[in-house]
């Protein structure tokens, strides 16, 4: 196995990958942009190298700098996480050329699946069903309009190089198409350095269900169940679950087999995800394959009892898969809530310094955070700051544990979408397991109104906090205490004087 592995990423995914690196005895090496120099992922590493200034293009996406960092620190392998360079075939190739192991699929597989059009052609040839009405990148609004008229509105405009909801627009009528094309192109260019977009039929009331696959270099391939990812805002996933409440055992097996066929069709090695659109009739269509780890991979880990990063490391080290298809037996139910630094109503981002932080604990709770109580959330990067997962012996228990976990979560200083999650987790359609990607466009339950007792408590707390400050200021004579204590005591100036 590897002794030194560079994680070419930041935030929660870098921290999460480093944890498994420590679990296998490898030394994690971090990279960071200048404003990230004291970020949590850097503090989780033993070795860390600055790769440039704030702008991703000059730091986390800077291939030369990342490769230099890997060479300089003696990294034997590079784990790209998700986003950034994780689906960049050129980078994967350059890593291999530098004699470093790329913890990801072969560059050719990234290329095939990275172009949505090539991906569709490839999997279609392998007999995998695809969404109707797709074509080449559109050159101009007129061509887009012609395609849209052909398949009928509503249509989806999508970035060819896209993923994660970026460069994606739902268009309901002809009037809105041109503006949507522009916006999608701009976002695509910014996010992927490629402004190619295409137009496809938008399936009404669709479910977004994806299959986790693992393929080793020895020809073994398995599917590790599915994830239901239909709770989305701005085409980005917000809540995910495993198993899907929507599909049954037969559909699961059929989708799994198709997903493995799709992976084999592009010579896949590593962990990947095949995304499907599933209609109300449970017919499913290949959407795309993500040739990397997914944000929502923990729900699979919780239900199937595997560590997908550990599996990635083994596969990259040339080991055979440690389990066969028959070994992969689901148990219970898992949910993931993505904690974004953003307003829960307007979805506007909220960077800044964290002033108070508490993560939930206890049975059935898993936290993967990219911030702690000392963090500053920069405005330059993705707003996701943590993933909260719960596991339950059934879906109901997983939901109730998630509500409890959200109640225990405290993040002050920045605004997070925790209240949105509360509303999703109490939405009758979600609780019943009958929802599609339109859930967040429907009316959510109103936020629970603070009862009079809590409002009173908040008012008293504000007054007592102010009073404590006044008292502390009055008493702020230099103390006779030990050297070094006053600064530190600021982190904990106790006022519990009873007892």
């Amino acid at each position: 196995m590897f002794e030194r592995v560079l994680v070419a990423n930041r935030g929660e995914i870098a921290v999460r990958v480093m944890r498994t690196l420590r679990d296998v005895g490898a030394t994690p090496i971090a990279i960071y942009s200048e404003p990230d120099r004291h970020a949590l992922h850097v503090r989780h590493a033993d070795v860390a190298v600055c790769v440039g200034p704030e702008a991703s293009a000059q730091s986390y996406l800077n291939m030369d700098a990342v490769l230099d960092a890997a060479r300089r620190t003696g990294a034997q392998a590079i784990h790209p996480g998700y986003g950034f360079l994780s689906e960049n075939a050129t980078f994967a190739r350059r890593v291999a050329e530098a004699g470093i192991t790329w913890i990801g699929p072969p560059p050719s597989a990234i290329e095939t699946m990275g172009s949505k059009l090539l991906a569709r052609r490839t999997v279609e040839a392998a007999g995998v069903p695809v969404v109707p009405g797709v074509s080449e990148p559109v050159r101009d609004p007129d061509e887009a309009l012609a395609i849209a008229r052909g398949v009928g509105f509503p249509v989806m405009v999508k970035a060819s190089a896209g993923g994660g909801g970026k460069g994606m627009r739902l268009v309901h009528d002809e009037a809105a198409l041109s503006k949507a094309l522009d916006a999608a192109r701009r976002e695509a260019a910014g996010a992927f350095g490629d402004d190619a977009v295409y137009v496809e039929k938008f399936v009404v009331e669709p479910h977004h269900v994806e299959i986790q696959v693992l393929c080793d270099a020895h020809g073994n391939a398995v599917y590790v169940g599915e994830r239901e990812c239909s709770v989305q805002r701005r085409h980005q996933k917000v809540v995910e679950e495993c198993p899907s409440p929507f599909i049954d055992e037969d559909v699961r097996r059929a989708m799994g087999e198709v997903a493995v066929a799709a992976a084999r069709a592009c010579g896949y090695v590593g962990a990947g995800t095949v995304e499907f659109l599933v209609g109300g009739d449970k017919r499913f269509y290949f959407l795309e394959m993500n040739t990397r780890l997914q944000v929502e991979h923990p729900v699979t880990e919780l239900v199937y009892g595997v560590d997908l990063v550990d599996a990635q490391l083994r596969i990259a080290a040339g080991q055979p898969l440690p389990f066969a298809q028959a070994d992969l037996v689901p148990r219970g139910h898992a949910l993931e809530c993505r904690i974004y630094a953003e307003d829960p109503e307007t979805y506007l981002p909220s960077p800044g310094a964290v002033t108070q932080l508490r993560w939930p604990e206890g049975p059935g709770v898993r936290v993967d955070a990219g911030i702690d109580g000392f963090s500053v959330v920069p405005m330059a990067y993705d707003p996701m700051v943590a993933k909260l997962c719960t596991w339950g012996s059934d879906r109901g228990q997983a939901i109730r544990r998630m509500r409890r976990a959200l109640d225990e979560t405290v993040v002050l200083g920045i605004t997070t979408n925790v209240p949105l999650h509360h509303r999703v987790l109490t939405h009758p359609a979600f609780v019943a397991g009958r929802y599609d990607t339109g859930l967040l466009n429907t009316t959510l339950p109103a936020a629970a109104a603070a009862d009079a007792g809590w409002k009173e408590a908040a008012i008293i707390a504000a007054a007592l906090t102010r009073h404590a400050e006044d008292t502390a200021r009055a008493a702020r004579a230099p103390s006779a205490g030990a050297p070094g204590s006053a600064w530190l005591a600021q982190g904990r100036q106790r006022q519990i004087t009873g007892g």
Partner: protein, 172 residues
């Protein structure tokens, strides 16, 4: 000590008198005074109010205190008696919406969608700001005419920066 706490639309006068270690007489507005047992630390206030146990987390915030209690969040402005009087004298009535469109977060201006003199309706997007890898359309809160555009494409803006000032359509 008397403080004026502003929470949402409410403004409540609170009298606080320590009566022992971790024990306070607290009076909210005209309600009867009560004894509260409280732990007050930077970041946490735990109250025992009769048989109720209430924990409130508190964080420093511009102009007040960020509070988190029972899964709910609120920002409280805390004024001492003198500041409250001053504010009352200045008058505190707010309009139905701001005549300035501001960006709540720092970011980069992607596009300015209006020009000076343009008429806008409430909810109309006026500027797109990119932050945290997403484009965010910032909207007018009121109907009016664009009096001034403060930014141009590619500008970096700080949180709370003015983007566009509007002249209200009619101020009855």
């Amino acid at each position: 000590m008397r403080y004026t706490i502003e929470l949402g639309d409410e403004s409540v006068a609170v009298d606080v008198h320590p009566v022992g270690p971790g024990r306070y007489r607290v009076q909210l507005g005209d309600a009867p005074a009560r004894t509260v047992e409280a732990a007050v630390e930077p970041g946490l206030v735990h109250l025992l109010l009769g048989d109720r146990s209430l924990s409130v987390r508190a964080g420093a915030a511009p102009g007040g205190v960020d509070l988190h209690a029972a899964g709910l969040r609120a920002r409280a402005g805390a004024l001492d008696a003198r500041a409250a009087r001053l504010k009352a004298r200045r008058g505190g009535a707010k309009g139905a919406g701001s005549d300035v469109v501001r960006t709540p977060m720092p970011g980069r201006v992607v596009q300015v969608m209006v020009a000076e003199g343009d008429a806008v309706v409430p909810g109309q997007g006026v500027v797109i700001v990119e932050a945290m890898k997403m484009e965010n359309e910032l909207r007018a809160e009121i109907a009016g005419v664009v009096a001034k555009v403060h930014v141009k494409a590619d500008d970096r803006v700080e949180g709370n920066a003015d983007l566009v000032t509007l002249r209200p359509a009619e101020s009855d």
